[in-house]
């Protein structure tokens, strides 16, 4: 069956619920990447991210009527399920900290970006990235969500607030706290002079 590129998600979902595999595939391809990235950046584990995304779309196959277009976009609905699954995963495996090996594409891209560097520079950059990644994964979940969405995925505060279903002010303050914690973890504040009367 032919799928219009701009066909609305709810229309595709209705068709999918009636057994149209093409409509389901289109929905999957439209939404899987940001969900996968969010799960990956929150969990730091490619296998967990894969399982979470699969689980989210299984829910869409089994219970398509759970989505109510009146209550928001399908993207937000799927993101909400992903977020719940991620939180459950983090409860189960709270100390799973580091990213596993990145896939070939990511490594290739990184290699191309830094091909002009010397091996020592490259190692330093790589170490720095690992530290940042590990520091993000050590953030408390609510701050990590804000940092992942606004810092890594580079969404606007409004978009992040919509996805997390909270006020923009909350996002702003979580992001502020998250960045402060990151700076502390990365010891960037070591050389910053203290403000008079400020306690850290």
């Amino acid at each position: 069956m032919h799928i219009e590129a701009q066909e609305r998600d709810d229309v595709l979902l209705r068709r999918s619920a009636k057994g149209d595999e093409g409509a389901f595939t289109e929905l999957y391809r439209r939404h899987q990447a940001p969900l996968y990235r969010f799960a990956l950046r929150m969990s730091g584990n490619v296998w967990a991210a894969e399982e979470i995304v699969q689980d989210v779309f299984m829910t869409l196959i089994r219970e398509p009527k759970k989505f109510d277009p009146q209550r928001g976009a399908l993207r937000s609905f799927l993101f909400g399920i992903t977020r719940n699954r991620v939180l459950k995963h983090l409860e189960r495996v709270p100390r799973e900290l580091l990213h596993e090996e990145l896939d070939e594409d990511a490594i290739g891209q990184r290699g191309r970006a830094f091909e002009a560097m010397t091996p020592a520079e490259w190692a330093e950059v790589r170490e720095r990235r690992e530290q940042v990644r590990a520091a993000v994964l050590k953030l408390p979940v609510e701050f990590r969500e804000a940092v992942v969405l606004c810092g890594l995925e580079e969404l606007s505060y409004d978009e992040a607030a919509r996805l997390l279903d909270c006020p923009v002010g909350t996002i702003r303050s979580r992001l502020h706290r998250g960045r402060a914690l990151l700076l502390a973890k990365l010891e960037m504040l070591r050389d910053t002079p203290k403000r008079a009367g400020a306690s850290r």
């Binding site: 999918s16 057994g19 595999e21 389901f24 595939t25 999957y28 391809r29 899987q32 990447a33 969900l35 996968y36 990235r37 990956l40 950046r41 991210a49 894969e50 995304v53 699969q54 779309f57 299984m58 196959i61 089994r62 990145l102 896939d103 594409d105 990511a106 891209q109 990184r110 970006a113 720095r128 990235r129 940042v132 990644r133 993000v136 940092v147 810092g151 890594l152 995925e153 580079e154 992001l175 502020h176 960045r179 990151l182 700076l183 990365l186 960037m188 504040l189 050389d191 910053t192 002079p193 203290k194 403000r195 400020a198």
Partner: protein, 217 residues
């Protein structure tokens, strides 16, 4: 702008509009406060680091096997639903067919019964009248109210015509040898043959008379 205000607002300095008054105030504060300037520099470094870390996974997607598994699940689920739906349709169709067949059979039975009972009612008071038979005779095992029209019925030993009032005709299949139990003479050589016999059964359930339909030798 104070240092506290800068910490709250200055974080997004780079993303603020050029004409935003907060931006100009923050810039002004940065020029005069070494601590906030260092903090701002750290934020900028952190922002760049985060962007770089984000860029590493910017193109990340779920592996193709996830899509494959999901599509497989989708097919299985919808095939199962279709099969279940087809089974339900088939069930209802069979049930409807059974109801139609039953209704037609009942209507036929009523029709046949209605035709047969009229002469029976008329003749029942006159005792057995053995002049007429049902053209084709009853089917095997079928019971009809005796129309007293079985002219070729043979009374069994010990039966009297008066006992045949309201008797019913029952067609049964039996071995020819079994006729001897009814007091009839049987050719021993053909005693094992299966034959069809119309029995005229009285009110007491005992056979009173019998006949051998034309098809039986």
């Amino acid at each position: 702008m104070t240092c506290e205000e800068f910490e709250l607002a200055g974080l997004d300095l780079e993303t603020m509009q050029e004409d935003d008054p907060v931006r100009s105030a923050a810039r002004e504060h940065l020029r005069s406060c070494a601590r906030c300037a260092a903090l701002h520099e750290n934020w900028q470094t952190l922002r760049a680091d985060l962007q770089a870390v984000g860029a590493e996974t910017q193109e990340a997607e779920a592996p193709a096997r996830v899509e494959m598994r999901l599509r497989q699940e989708f097919r299985t689920r919808h095939k199962t639903v279709k099969a279940r739906r087809a089974a339900v349709y088939a069930g209802w169709t069979l049930a409807a067919a059974a109801v139609v067949v039953a209704a037609v059979s009942w209507a036929n039975w009523r029709h046949e019964n209605g035709k047969g009972s009229t002469p029976s009612a008329v003749n029942s008071a006159q005792g057995v009248n053995m002049n007429k038979t049902t053209p084709a005779g009853p089917e095997l095992g079928e019971t009809i109210v005796a129309a007293n029209d079985a002219g070729d019925f043979t009374l069994l030993p010990g039966s009297f015509p008066g006992m045949l009032e309201d008797a019913t005709v029952v067609r049964v299949q039996m071995q020819r040898g079994a006729l001897s139990a009814l007091g009839l003479t049987v050719n021993e050589e053909r005693a094992a043959d299966l034959i069809q016999v119309d029995l005229l059964v009285g009110d007491d359930g005992q056979p009173q008379a019998l006949r051998l339909p034309q098809t039986t030798n």
